[in-house]
């Protein structure tokens, strides 16, 4: 699990790569929360195109970060969603909260 972040103004763009399962979820969570300590972030984009695997543990990570961003009145976007991840996202109804681009 690797993470590459770029900030432009109030927008934070984070590209995740590797495998996002229960084992790597802790690391992803800690790294994302560290980035979100910056309270000026109002829009978080997670680019998932570099993920070679994700299961429902990844869904938990995305939903958890959505809560943080939403609480401060911001919004969240996911991009690079593979067919398999899209199925998990659709099943969970997450697209009513998080925009897919």
């Amino acid at each position: 699990m690797e993470l590459n972040a770029q900030k432009r103004g109030t927008r934070l763009h984070v590209a995740l790569s590797g495998e996002l399962d229960h084992h790597s979820a802790d690391k992803a969570r800690i790294m994302l929360d560290t980035l979100l300590h910056d309270v000026t972030v109002r829009e978080l984009t997670l680019d998932l195109s570099g993920l070679t695997f994700m299961d429902s543990a990844g869904l938990g990570v995305v939903l958890g970060r959505y809560k943080t961003v939403h609480m401060r009145g911001g919004r969240m976007i996911v991009t690079g969603v593979s067919a398999s991840i899209d199925r998990i996202f659709r099943m969970s109804g997450i697209y009513t909260l998080v925009e897919r681009q």
């Binding site: 495998e19 399962d21 229960h22 084992h23 979820a25 969570r29 695997f53 299961d55 429902s56 543990a57 869904l59 938990g60 990570v61 939903l63 958890g64 067919a83 398999s84 199925r87 998990i88 099943m91 969970s92």
Partner: protein, 142 residues
């Protein structure tokens, strides 16, 4: 073709990746599509993760067993733990139901297994462990 493999591993999260690698290599004998292979890896990951975190609460001295069978295009995977068991299986299988929300679990594990495999059965009782059996027919295999 008929083929069986069985593995047994410690209930630690490092082995989630290992179990996926084993099932992917085993299922490859059936020439699955990339989508089928991805479905199988994801479903196995859900079942194995559940055994590790719910069944055993992560314990390197406890063992998860995975039995894989190929029978003429039908893949059957059984994930077994001797952990805490499930008191209400019907409730546990419901989407969004989780007993560990503090770990940011989404409660979608069983729903994912059901969506990605053809058939999922769960046998469990409190303190008697849990056995999840998943089947998937691989399209163009002989």
């Amino acid at each position: 073709m008929y083929n069986i493999t069985q593995i047994r591993f410690s209930a630690v999260s490092q082995n989630e990746n290992y179990a996926r690698a084993v099932i992917a290599a085993f299922a490859s004998q059936l020439n699955p599509t990339l989508e089928e292979l991805s479905d199988i890896r994801t479903a196995v990951s859900e079942a194995v993760t559940n055994a590790i975190i719910h069944g055993y609460e992560q314990n390197p001295d406890a063992f998860v067993r995975m039995d894989c069978t190929l029978d003429h295009g039908l893949l059957t995977v059984t994930v077994h733990d001797d952990g805490c068991g499930i008191s209400d299986i019907e409730l546990a299988r419901k989407p969004f139901y989780t007993t560990k929300p503090e770990l940011e679990r989404s409660g979608m594990g069983f729903a994912v297994m059901e969506a990605f495999m053809d058939r999922v059965t769960v046998e469990s009782a409190p303190h008697k462990g849990t056995t999840v059996t998943m089947e998937k027919r691989i399209g163009h295999a002989g």
